[in-house]
Symmetry: C2
Subunit: 349 residues, 2 copies
Amino acid sequence: MASKGVIALDAMGGDNAPSSVLHGANTATERFPDLHWLVVGDETQIRPLLSTLPRLADRVEVLHTESRVANSERPSVALRSGRQSSMWLAIQAVQEGRAQAVVSGGNTGALMAISRFILRSPPGIVRPAIISFFPTARGETAMLDLGANIDCDAEQLVQFAVMGALFARSVLGLPHPTVGLLNVGVEDMKGNDEIRAAAQRLRQGEYPFHFHGFVEANEIGRGAVDVVVSDGFTGNVALKMAEGTSELYSHFLREAFNASWMAKIGYLLAKRTLTQLRSRVDPRRYNGAVFAGLNGVVVKSHGSTDAFGFSNAIGVAADMLQHGFMEDIRKECERLHWDTSTAAQAASA
Amino acid sequence: MASKGVIALDAMGGDNAPSSVLHGANTATERFPDLHWLVVGDETQIRPLLSTLPRLADRVEVLHTESRVANSERPSVALRSGRQSSMWLAIQAVQEGRAQAVVSGGNTGALMAISRFILRSPPGIVRPAIISFFPTARGETAMLDLGANIDCDAEQLVQFAVMGALFARSVLGLPHPTVGLLNVGVEDMKGNDEIRAAAQRLRQGEYPFHFHGFVEANEIGRGAVDVVVSDGFTGNVALKMAEGTSELYSHFLREAFNASWMAKIGYLLAKRTLTQLRSRVDPRRYNGAVFAGLNGVVVKSHGSTDAFGFSNAIGVAADMLQHGFMEDIRKECERLHWDTSTAAQAASA
């Protein structure tokens, strides 16, 4: 299936913008030749770059602005005074239907705040959540929420499970994903009230996935489930702990290979397969965190990534367009009557 | 300084008991020749083993029982019907002053419940917490709570910080530890109300450590702080995520070394330093989780560890005795007036 549509690119977000953004998009055109691009940023910087990227230049519209959201800016400040920023205009393009997705390497808090303000959530979704995915022994596993919601009630955890499963379907290509609730044990009485209530609802309802039950953090790397659901505080800590631990392991490994001449020669002999290993766990391959539960696809790229990393964040957005993630979410909201129940709650509030 | 005192050993707790327990204690006598041992369990199994371990046998008293707490037993059941169990009798020996510390590889929940019931907390300590430590790029870092308290308020987090610092002093040998509060960002407004309130108190008060502020999970492996403080849910998830990630990394590494003949030869050449690396991250070296905040030293060993692992759990208990951990806790409770403030709370409740 060809991926059609327009992706808006915040060409001022991230350390290496606009170069990494445009080179990343140019790489992405190979996998997604039918996509069009709306590049938002400083035309005087963008045009010279585009002239070196003819494949991309053919399918690009440039929206000029000189204003950007700084990395240090508070989300509330960006909301008040960032209306001419590249980030704002890129998100607005999705709201206006000029694009179907936006990819930005800018300030995470501002991107979430502006996206929520402009795009809002589909009827029924309480709050958006941040999803990402990473390698495991059996393939890839998605996790949410990664920090958008510090405290979550059972209703939100159930919604995260649905959004995570639809993400696994679109982006990881898993038609029947398994979903687990992150907990400190697998027995029924473990965890807090909200987690236990969410588990009860997930066991009873009919959802577009297999509910595995509780999952402990040490089982995630083994690929015990395709989607891990937790509140945003725990999810953020878990993801960063995994990052820190693999960084530490790499550090120890470098030390071990440098500890003797024999080890150095050993490293040279194993270099090819070790390089494959490094590529397998390369964070750039897993770049692209999705803000799910908004009226439009919003993908956050790491600010410090390069063109390869940025092209992967674009790939996540393109997969979501191609596989109809937004349509899936709306259908599930309807099927599960979230749209009417939340509307009723709002009316009675 | 010689380490004097008696350590009570639950010789029926853990998969390889009593063999791993007694062999572990025998190993520990090398580092701690002045310790005495109270071995609680089935004399008919213990005596034949002791006859092969003369160094240990010289300093052992055996307390016979044939009853044990099963691994699958609910803590509430163990509390009601476990009074003749090896675990109960070993903890009771600490309460009666026959021993100063207890080490058990048995059921974690039961060990916590029975320890709290028999030993209770020193005046001022709201609830005990579980502490453990692990390797980082700069040495070793301790973390608590690892699962005793799912929800924690600011008061508890402050107490964890103090207990963690005293643990780092006794067991990690760090006279001036730095303590960080685990959070999803380092800015003041990050986290929930309790974490922010705890940070404010830790910044203002005079505590026996340097307060680093908030710490993110990806900084832990770099050794950003000596002690990481969090609620028991987050701490449990973080520790297990680190375990799962290093397991995954080892799995990937084994695959890489098996992927080609060149890589296999490379492995053989680097084997000596890689084995040193494996020993550096060997979980048995970091065995021994402390239940801090009780009237007595209680150390939980992994149930599946061997004699080497068990000897390290004993080493943690012995270090705590040697360096006066219990005395330190009581002094801090007094100095910080926790003893009187909690007594006042209890009186007004």
